[in-house]
């Protein structure tokens, strides 16, 4: 589904990603772990098409197509979803309006009919249950005045509505209490299907107790320095990163 080869990316003049290779197949969950500043979030943002990052080398192929040539909205319409580490507040635009706009743009891109506000309301009734969110949140401005946990739930709600093929969760677990973490993880697991895939970017092994990865990758200094099965995450939890060649600061 996704094939990243020798990916280099800069922000300004600073090189953050220094040659990433990663292949993700349909049905898989990949965890990307690593110390602070290793480039985890940059990788997530580059895949979503953040305009602040410049790809200087390498390729990213998504379903056989060049992902790097697509605008962020086209990537989303093609099924890529990034759950933001710090979800953005948009005062003045209600959650419902925002999500319906996104949903309908994606439907339009697929040549499917758009939903009117009433039909969308029915859909929301079903989807808000997945993340145990009060429907009243839909009438509040996007993320505005939401608690940290509410923001993360809102990201997963968006994911549940947009049904991406490739979801990238950028530190979705950071700052969550255990209840919120369970809600978010249950949401992610409920949305798992044989034809979609998930990349979980995280600093902590804790999340991986709930979202069990097929592969774990250690990102350090802009490169993947080690890959393994889910047991690698446990080892990292116990021993830290310093024992891995190339990961030492």
């Amino acid at each position: 589904m996704l094939e990243i080869k020798n990916l280099h990316a800069n922000i300004g003049d600073k090189e953050i990603l220094k040659g990433i290779d990663l292949t993700v197949n349909a049905g898989e969950i990949h965890a990307v772990m690593g110390p602070n500043g290793s480039g985890k979030s940059t990788l997530a943002q580059v895949l979503a098409g953040h305009p602040a990052y410049e790809v200087t080398e390498g390729t990213v192929t998504y379903d056989g197509r060049n992902l790097l040539e697509m605008d962020p909205e086209v990537r989303a319409q093609e099924g890529i979803f990034l759950a933001f580490q710090y979800p953005i507040e948009i005062p003045g635009v209600t959650n419902a309006y925002f999500l319906r706009s996104a949903y309908n743009e994606i439907r339009k891109a697929k040549g499917m009919p758009e939903l009117d506000p009433l039909e969308f309301l029915d859909l929301m009734e079903e989807k808000t249950k997945i993340v145990e969110m009060d429907q009243a949140m839909m009438n509040r401005s996007v993320n505005t005045g939401f608690s940290g946990g509410e923001k993360k739930r809102n990201e997963i709600l968006q994911m549940a509505v947009l049904e991406p093929r490739l979801a990238i969760l950028d530190e979705t677990d950071s700052g969550l209490d255990i209840d919120a973490l369970k809600v978010v993880s249950n949401g992610v697991n409920a949305l798992r299907r044989p034809d979609n895939a998930t990349i979980v970017v995280t600093h902590y092994q804790r999340l991986l107790n709930y979202i069990v990865p097929d592969r774990v990758h250690v990102l350090a200094q802009g490169r993947i320095v080690k890959s393994g099965g889910k047991e690698l995450a446990l080892e990292l939890e116990e021993r830290g990163y310093d024992w891995i060649p190339g990961a030492a600061a």
């Binding site: 305009p51 605008d71 962020p72 909205e73 948009i90 003045g92 635009v93 925002f98 706009s101």
Partner: protein, 427 residues
């Protein structure tokens, strides 16, 4: 002798205007001639160059023009409000007196002049005096028609009153001087909408003055919608006088005209009178939109709240100057003023100047202005959800305006203006 002077002399010979009015017009014109049009050296006009108006010779509009029912329904937002329609400055239609709610009277300036009524003698050009500004002086000299709305004490009309000033092709090259008088007597309550709209793209000048008297405990909501032709000029002054415990709420919506200036002035003359001034201006291309507001806190215990927002695209230029004067007697004044602007293009420009002058010592006053651009992070967030760049810009722009539109209490008008804001940014 100037063009304008010729016209007044001509009117004197042919009209049946009362002598006092002819004299007032003559002296107003003399006032104008002694000062001329304001220049950018004038502090109040520092960012607005009126040369395009001063250098043009405006004639008279064609009279007897009629606007179709279809167009009127659109202009009136499909609402069954008490509606007066002026076309090119002259009355086209007005509601029959017997259809009006109890205590409500709507007449015209022309008819009041013709009958030399008490109301016109006592109040015409008394709040907005010829000495208060060049354009007001010209208006005093030339004003031929407008609406006179009177709300008797304790009256609360069942519907809003809509004053519609339409310009069509008959306005090309003309100057139209409109003068309205509103009287809200003790404890009356009403909503008045003043709409300036164009059916074409003609070049003309609207010079409008509205004098508003709000008596003890009266509450007036006043919406001014400036949607003139993109080639027109509009200079409008609202001068309000508020007695004790009154509430006057003004909303200025300005999207039209090549060059516009809107003055909203109120005097809080009575204890615990409240003024609310909100506005939204939204311009594009080479439009120039200027607002000046002035709140005179004369009496104590008066709150005044003001929020103006501006959206500027293309090479447009916005100006906002909000003045709040707190006189020595006006203790316990609670004044809050803000002006926020969104620049959608690199060439758009805004000059904003909130101004506070406080001569009392026990007051709470804040003011502030912001100028910003669309939030890049929010744009990316929306795009990452599949929303196109243009739609994301449109939504964020709308969101910027949402809170000030939210202050419009007249629901059908709020919805219409919200739709207009959304539509404006649809590609």
């Amino acid at each position: 002798m100037t063009e304008a002077g010729t016209e007044v002399l001509h009117r004197e010979k042919t009209s049946t205007e009362p002598a006092w009015l002819a004299e007032l017009r003559r002296s107003a014109l003399a006032t104008f001639e002694s000062t001329g049009y304001p220049t950018m050296k004038n502090e109040d006009w520092h960012f607005t160059n009126v040369a395009p108006i001063a250098e043009r010779k405006f004639g008279s509009a064609k009279t007897g023009m009629v606007v179709s029912a279809d167009a009127l329904s659109r202009i009136g937002y499909g609402q069954d409000w008490y509606t007066l329609v002026f076309v090119n400055g002259r009355l086209m239609s007005q509601p029959a007196a017997e259809t009006l709610a109890a205590g409500l009277s709507i007449t015209t300036l022309a008819s009041e002049i013709e009958s030399d009524s008490e109301v016109i003698r006592r109040h015409f050009a008394k709040l907005a005096t010829p000495e208060s500004g060049s354009f007001t002086a010209l208006n005093t000299a030339h004003a031929a028609d407008g609406a006179v709305v009177r709300l008797a004490a304790d009256s609360v009309p069942d519907k809003p009153i809509h004053l519609v000033f339409v310009s069509d092709t008959g306005a090309e090259g003309a100057a139209m001087y409109t003068h309205n008088l509103f009287f809200a007597e003790r404890h009356s309550q009403a909503t008045i909408i003043e709409s300036y709209v164009a059916l074409g793209a003609d070049v003309y000048l609207t010079n409008a003055v509205t004098e508003v008297f709000v008596a003890d405990g009266a509450r007036l909501s006043h919406y001014k919608l400036q949607r003139e032709s993109q080639n027109a000029f509009h200079v409008g002054t609202l001068q309000v006088h508020q007695a004790r415990d009154s509430r006057y709420e003004s909303f200025s919506f300005a999207t039209g005209a090549a060059l516009s200036r809107t003055n909203v002035y109120t005097t809080l003359a009575g204890d615990a009178a409240e003024a609310v001034m909100n506005g939204l201006y939204m311009v594009d291309g080479k439009q120039h939109v200027d607002h000046q507001t002035r709140i005179e806190h004369v009496a104590p215990n008066c709150p005044s709240h003001e929020l103006y927002k501006g959206i500027l695209d293309g090479r447009s230029h916005g100006v906002f100057n909000g003045k709040v004067y707190v006189h020595p007697e006006a203790q316990k004044t609670d004044g809050k003023q803000s002006n926020n602007n969104l620049l959608l293009s690199a060439e758009a420009r805004i000059d904003t100047k909130p101004q506070l002058e406080i001569y009392a010592d026990d007051v709470k006053c804040t003011h502030g202005a912001t100028v910003g651009r669309l939030d890049e992070t929010a744009l990316f967030y929306m795009r990452s959800r599949g929303i196109s760049m243009s739609q994301a810009r449109r939504l964020l722009t709308y969101a910027f305006a949402a809170d000030v539109l939210e202050k419009i209490e007249l629901e059908p008008l709020k919805e219409a203006l919200e739709a207009q804001v959304l539509e404006r940014f649809t590609n």
